[in-house]
Amino acid sequence: MLAHNDRSRNQTEYSKPMLIARRLGWVDALLLVAGYVALDWASFFHPLHGLNITPWNPAPALGLVFLLRYGWKAAPPLALAVLLAEVWVRDLPISLPALLAIAVMLATGYGAIGDILRRRLGGVGIFSDRDGMLQWSGIVVAGTFFTSLAFVLVLVALGLIPAEDWQQAVGRYWIGDGVGILVSMPLLWMLFDERGRTVLRATVLRRETIGLVLAAGMALWVAFGLGAESDFKYFYILFLPIIWAAARQGLAGAVLSAALIQVGLVFSVQSLGFAAVTAFEIQALTVVLALVGFFVGVVLDEQQRISAELRQTLRLAAAGEMAGALAHELNQPLTALSAYGTACEELLARGDTGDNLKKAIRLMVSESFRAADVVRRLRDFFRTGTTHLEPVSVAELLPAAAAAFHSRAAENGVTLSVMPVPEGIVMADRPQVEVVLRNLLANAFDAVSAQPAGQRTVRLSAVVEGADRICIRVEDSGPGLSTVDAARLFEPFNSTKSSGLGLGLAISRAIAEAHGGNLWAEVGGRGVFSFILPFERKTDHD
């Protein structure tokens, strides 16, 4: 019985749409009605047959945002808003029941679009990735087509549109509605969302915004001021500010500049007195403009999100690698501590409280300090994501790194040579740099393992470059790298080995960069990795 209850509860949870519909309060309903009527009033120009068929109809975008946020509960106030807009803004010569029917029909149509969007995209995912964006535009384009068709057919039936004009009317209403929703909805959606508002505010409050506004104004002037006489052949100039904004600030930038350009467009169209047909053509272009901007913006957002996630992963992986190296260092003093501690017990048990005990306790204290030092380094790494820099002699560093490989070299018949190293120091986190060198050497050993015996050599060398850089090179007689390999080599999770995650080189590069250096692979017939570190020729330190 209990199990049954549990299951049924789970099922209802799963079948719920992901976006939880909020409670629609009086204030929200009022905001919807007032906003809808205001938008409709502001955008009522170039009407077809005096009807709500205009080149730009952003009011439904507001309706859709409310439908998405509040579910079907927002449909009645939306119907009311449509009705009020028809009465106040247009004052049509039709009966109230007919108006009511139109309002209910439109609200139902938008409600259906909103419902599909909620189901398909769960509300949260619409403007966060390309897929959501694509689905959203598809649903809006298809949805507005059907509402336009229904709307126009009703109007034809009521005799408000001549029957022979129905195709043109559907086309115009579709463009007006579609463009209105496609261009305005992302902005309205963000405005009604707490996080969206924060992002928008951060986007607007930049010095670059001034430049963007100027560029948009300039583009509008070129497109309409200069281009008016030549069939708007400079319309494409308008792409520049929107691409600029999208490429710099992601979707928020694209949304804002699309709105800016849309308003500028409407203003230009109004003040220059274009013919209605031209206005519709311009709107069709505008929607392309806006969508291109949105997609660039969304791609940028996605890419930034992924790169942030990747940086986090890399940092964790680098930390993991570091933790592995440090765990050994930490376990040594802990081993000594526990052995000394047990020895102290032993001494006490046999009543030896003299110098032996004192000495053991003193050693325990010094071991605990040693452990604390390791922990401090690990903590510093986690805190800063970087490093504990100390002067390290290059002449010590390289042979020490190579020392760990001598037995492996002997076993695998690899000639490992360490070239004479220039005197000087690097400011480095020694364990981290050792991780990099070990990694490079291990890769070099793997690279030569397939070569015939006698032709397996690995060479570790260092040359000073310029005044303050040292280039540590790990060369091997392996097959080398192609251009494609070299480009993909440092991508994480791209391993040529069957074991391992392929994070080694990505982490190594991250460590090199954290040291103000660099790490790259050269393309050629043998393996060459160059690891650059800032270098001081003269050793002032001790």
Partner: protein, 200 residues
């Protein structure tokens, strides 16, 4: 037990010093080496006891040392210690017949158990090898015929078969067999078979 030594090979001075102190207090004889090379340099075949080896050491690492010891036919039991117990090195260590694999920081009880186990084994194997040496000596006291009979017994022959093949009476075989057992100081056929197989 007194001449058995725990050999500690670890590059960390504090670790080997503390282990030396502790094991010394517990009554073990200890010898300390800072690296694999110095241990190998000092190694003598008559050493008895066990070796505690740290895996990660500069120069020759613990696993390589283990291999070298096996190549030298050294049968000192080996206990491997490691700072990070990765499966791969544990596998390597056990493949090279490590007796135990201890993670640092060491659990003192497990360490003590491992060392005692190792020393017991060493003692047992020394006893075995002593017995084997004695057995080899005793074998020389057998007459050729007795030796012949013994080999047939070890190969699994019955008294009657042996008598038939050697052309003597089963009763004579019985007599030879009793003499063999007596001379070699074994309690039964099973022990005789085991010893003779081991000395072969």
């Amino acid at each position: 037990m007194t001449d058995m030594t725990v050999f500690i090979v670890d590059d960390d001075p504090a670790v080997r010093d503390s282990l030396g102190l502790l094991l010394g207090l517990r009554g073990y004889r200890t010898a300390i080496f800072a690296d694999a090379e110095s241990f190998l340099g000092a190694y003598a075949a008559d050493w008895c006891g066990c070796v505690l080896i740290d895996i990660r050491m500069p120069g020759m690492d613990g696993l390589a040392l283990q291999k070298h010891l096996r190549e030298r036919q050294c049968n000192l039991p080996v206990i491997v210690m490691t700072g990070h117990g990765d499966v791969e090195s544990a596998r390597e260590a056990f493949k090279a017949q490590a007796l135990d694999f201890l993670e640092k920081p060491l659990d003192q009880a497990r360490l003590a158990a491992a060392i005692d186990d190792a020393l017991d084994r060493c003692a047992a194997s020394r006893q075995e090898s002593g017995q084997r040496a004695r057995f080899a000596e005793l074998l020389k006291t057998l007459t050729p015929r007795e030796r012949e009979v013994m080999d047939m017994i070890v190969a699994g022959g019955h008294n009657r078969d042996i008598a038939e093949r050697l052309g003597i009476s089963p009763r004579t075989v019985e007599v030879h067999k009793a003499r063999v057992m007596q001379k070699l100081k074994v309690d039964g056929v099973a022990q005789l078979v085991r010893f003779s197989l081991e000395t072969r």
